[in-house]
Symmetry: C2
Subunit: 412 residues, 2 copies
C-alpha cells in the first residue's frame, strides 16, 4: 500500500481536468493497492513550497464527473523546469517530500516540459534506487508531442477553432462589399490547430480560402497576391494563420510590427501577426479588412469540448494508473490508431524520447504552395472533434467544479 | 391578399435569423391574408439592385426551425442609410419596386439605423398615400435601443461574454505568480454587454475585479492605482473594459496608441483599448499582463445562445406580422417587463422615436467610482441569458441553414 501524487503543469486545456478525473477515479477504485490520493497545488513548484491536497478531503458529490468538463487546471499549474544537474538540491528535496508522504507513484499531466520532468525524476529515482514510479499524461492543444497519434486537448481546441471559424465565415459574408478577414490561431511552432480550420470549410463555400502554418515559410508578397486572387473568386475572403508564421529567414511575422509600434507613453507595443497582415491588406489591397485573434478562449473554453477528447483524456489518466500499478515508470501514455474507422489503443512511450521534441504538421499535408491543407488531414482530425459537450448550466452560465485556487484562499 | 417583404440590416446577432424565422413562420400561417413571402438579399441596398427571393422556393425541410440557431443573416445584410430628402429618387424607385411585387407590408430587422429606415419609408408612404405597412423588428447586441426593456441579440451576446469571461477567470488563476488579464468587450457607446461580465463573478471569486464602461470617463492614472490595489487582494486580476471607453475629454483610449504605431512598412497601426491598457500595466506595474479582445465571436457565435433570447427574437418577428395585419405601421416591436419574476409583454413603439437615440447603461448601476456594476443589474440581465443552446451538430461542428449568399453564387 502506498499513496500517489498527481500534478498538472503548463497551460491548461479544456480537458486537462478530465485526465485528472481519470487518474483520481481509477486510483480511488484501487483501494487495495492505493491508500491516499494527493494532488500538488501549482505543480512541482507549489509542491516544493509544501502545497498539496488530499483529494478525498476536497471532493464533493459528483465533482469527478463535473471535472471532466471543467476548464483550467483544478490543481493549479506551473511552468517549472527541473535542473539538468542531478546534484541540484531540488531532487533531494523532492524525494524527501515524496518519502514523507509515502508516495509510490507520481502522475504528471502536461506537455513537453512535463515529460521532461517525468523523465528527469524517474532517472534520478533510478540513480538513487527509489521504487517510485513516474507516469506522464499528455496534454496540449498544439498536438505536437511525438510518438502519439494525437494529444488530449487538441480535439477540443480543434472543435472550438472549427466552430468559431465557421461562425466567422457565416458572418463575414453578410455584406455584398468585398472584405478580408484574418483569423489568428494558436500554434507557435506547429500548425495542427490552425489546420483544423479546414473543418469549417464545406465543398461549396471555399472559405477559409487560405490557410498558413508555421511549418511553411511565409512570404508577404505571395500573401498579398494570393488574397488579391482569392477576392476575385468570392466577395469575402477568410484567411487562417498560425500565430507563429515566419518568413524564410525565420523572422516571425508578428515581429514585423515591433520596431516602430509604441503607445503615447513611448512604450513598445507588441501585436499579433493577424494585426500585421490586416494592416498589409488594408494598405496593399485597399479593401475592408479585419483581424481576429482567437486568443485564450480557444485553449480554455470548456463549452465547445469534443466528447471524444474528454473521454480519451479521462481514459489516458486511468490507463496511467494501471501502468504504474504494473510497475511501469518513466513513461508517457500515448494513443495509437489502428484498423478501419477510428480505433484507439492506449500505449506507453518513453517520456525521455517525447520531451524536447516537437511533432510538426506533415509536409505532405501542406499543399498549394503553403496556402492550403490536404483533404487527408480531414480524415485524421474529424474523429477527434466528434461528440458534443455535456457541460451543465446554472443561472445561464456553465457550472464547473471550483479549482483549488478559487476554493482555498491560501492558494490565491 | 398581398405579398410581404422582409429584410435584415446591420451587423448580425446570434438571433437575427430567429426573428426572420418568426416573421416567415407567422406569415406562412396566414395564408388567407398573405400570399407570397419575399426576402430582400443584402437589405434595402440589395433590393434596390433587384435582389430578392421567394421564401417558399428556397426553404427546405425544417429550415425555419434550424434558422432559429443559425448565425449571421440568412438574407445577407447592408449598411445603407436612406436620404433625409424625400425628393431623392431612391424613394420612388423603392415604392415602384414594392408595387411591382404587390407588397403590402415590409419588415426590417435591425438596430437604430434600420428603425430610421422603417420611419422614413413609412413617412414617405404616408406622404404619397401608400397603404404599405412598415414594421421594425429590433436586433442589436448593444442593447441600446430606446423604449424597449432589452433587445433581441443582447441576451445571447451577454451569455457568450459571461461564459467566456468565466472560462478566462478560471484559466488565469492557474499560476501562483501575479498576473493581470484585460478583456475587451464590444460596446462603442453603451456598456450593457461589458456589464454582463458580472455574470461570471460569484461571491467568493471577486473576478472580474474591475469593470469599466464607456458611460463613465476613464482615467489611466486611476486605472493603474485600481489594478495595483486589486493585485493585493488576489494574485490574478481580470479586468473587463468596453471597447469604447474614453477619457473625460472624450478621447477614446484606443486612440492613445494611434499616433506612434506603425508597421515595418510605415503604415499606421490601429489597436484596441485592451492592448493599450495591457501595455500600460506592463510598463507601470511591471507584472505579467495579457489582453484578450473578444472580437467578432461575441456577436456572431451561435453556440452560446440564450434560449430565452432565441424565443423572444422569434416571437418579436411573429408579433410584428400580426401587428402589420392589424394595420399598424411605422412601429418597432418592443419588450415590456411586468409583474413579479420575469414576464414579457410585446408592445409597439414608434420607430421614429427609437432611431437616432441610444439607451445608455444607467448611471445608478455604475458604482465604485466607475469601476464596478451594481448587483441590481444582475436581476435585470439574469433572465435574459437563461436557457441553453439547441444547435445540432454534424461531423463535429454546428449544422446551420446555409445563408442565401452561400447558397447562390450570384449573391457571393
Amino acid at each position: 500500500m502506498y499513496n500517489i501524487l498527481i500534478g498538472q503543469s503548463g497551460g491548461p486545456t479544456a480537458v486537462i481536468n478530465a485526465s485528472l478525473s481519470g487518474v483520481v477515479s481509477r486510483a480511488l477504485e484501487k483501494k487495495d493497492e492505493i491508500d491516499k490520493v494527493y494532488g500538488m497545488v501549482h505543480g512541482i513548484e507549489g509542491f516544493l513550497d509544501g502545497n498539496y491536497i488530499d483529494f478525498e478531503a476536497e471532493l464533493e458529490d459528483d465533482d469527478l464527473e463535473k471535472l471532466k468538463v471543467t476548464p483550467a487546471a483544478y490543481l493549479g499549474s506551473c511552468r517549472f523546469k527541473l535542473s539538468n544537474n542531478f546534484e541540484d538540491e531540488v531532487y533531494q528535496v523532492l524525494f524527501a517530500k515524496f518519502a514523507v508522504l509515502n508516495i509510490g507513484a507520481v502522475f504528471y499531466i502536461g506537455g513537453n516540459d512535463s515529460m521532461d520532468t517525468v523523465d528527469k525524476l524517474s532517472r534520478y529515482g533510478e540513480k538513487i534506487g527509489s521504487s517510485i514510479r513516474f507516469i506522464g499524461i499528455p496534454k496540449t492543444i498544439d498536438n505536437d508531442l511525438m510518438y502519439t497519434d494525437h494529444t488530449p486537448g487538441f480535439g477540443s481546441a480543434a472543435k472550438y477553432v472549427a466552430a468559431t471559424v465557421k461562425d466567422i465565415i457565416w458572418d463575414c459574408g453578410v455584406y455584398k462589399h468585398p472584405s478580408v478577414t484574418i483569423v489568428e490561431i494558436m500554434g507557435r511552432h506547429a500548425g495542427w490547430l490552425t489546420a483544423a480550420a479546414m473543418l469549417a470549410r464545406t465543398e461549396e463555400e471555399k472559405n477559409p480560402m487560405l490557410i498558413y502554418l508555421p511549418e511553411h515559410a511565409f512570404n508577404v508578397t505571395e500573401f498579398v497576391e494570393s488574397v488579391k486572387e482569392a477576392i476575385t473568386k468570392t466577395n469575402y475572403v477568410v484567411v487562417c494563420v498560425s500565430e507563429g508564421i515566419a518568413d524564410k529567414e525565420g523572422k516571425f511575422i508578428c515581429e514585423y510590427g515591433v520596431q516602430a509600434g509604441v503607445d503615447k507613453f513611448g512604450h513598445k507595443m507588441l501585436t499579433g501577426c493577424g494585426k500585421i497582415l490586416e494592416n498589409i491588406v488594408k494598405n496593399e489591397i485597399g479593401c475592408k479588412c479585419r483581424s481576429i485573434e482567437l486568443n485564450l478562449p480557444q485553449r480554455c473554453s470548456a463549452y465547445m469540448t469534443s466528447n471524444t477528447d474528454v473521454m480519451e483524456a479521462f481514459n489516458a489518466g486511468s490507463y496511467g494508473v494501471d501502468a504504474a500499478l504494473k510497475g511501469e515508470t518513466a513513461k508517457m501514455v500515448g494513443f495509437k490508431r489502428y484498423g478501419e474507422g477510428y480505433n484507439i489503443e492506449y500505449v506507453l512511450v518513453d517520456a525521455g524520447s517525447v520531451c524536447n521534441q516537437e511533432k510538426k504538421f506533415p509536409d505532405e499535408w501542406i499543399v498549394n504552395e503553403g496556402r492550403d491543407i490536404a483533404p487527408k488531414f480531414l480524415q485524421y482530425v474529424l474523429p477527434l472533434v466528434k461528440g458534443e459537450n455535456t457541460t451543465r448550466f446554472s443561472e445561464g452560465v456553465p457550472e464547473y467544479v471550483k479549482p483549488i485556487y478559487l476554493k482555498k484562499k491560501q492558494y490565491n
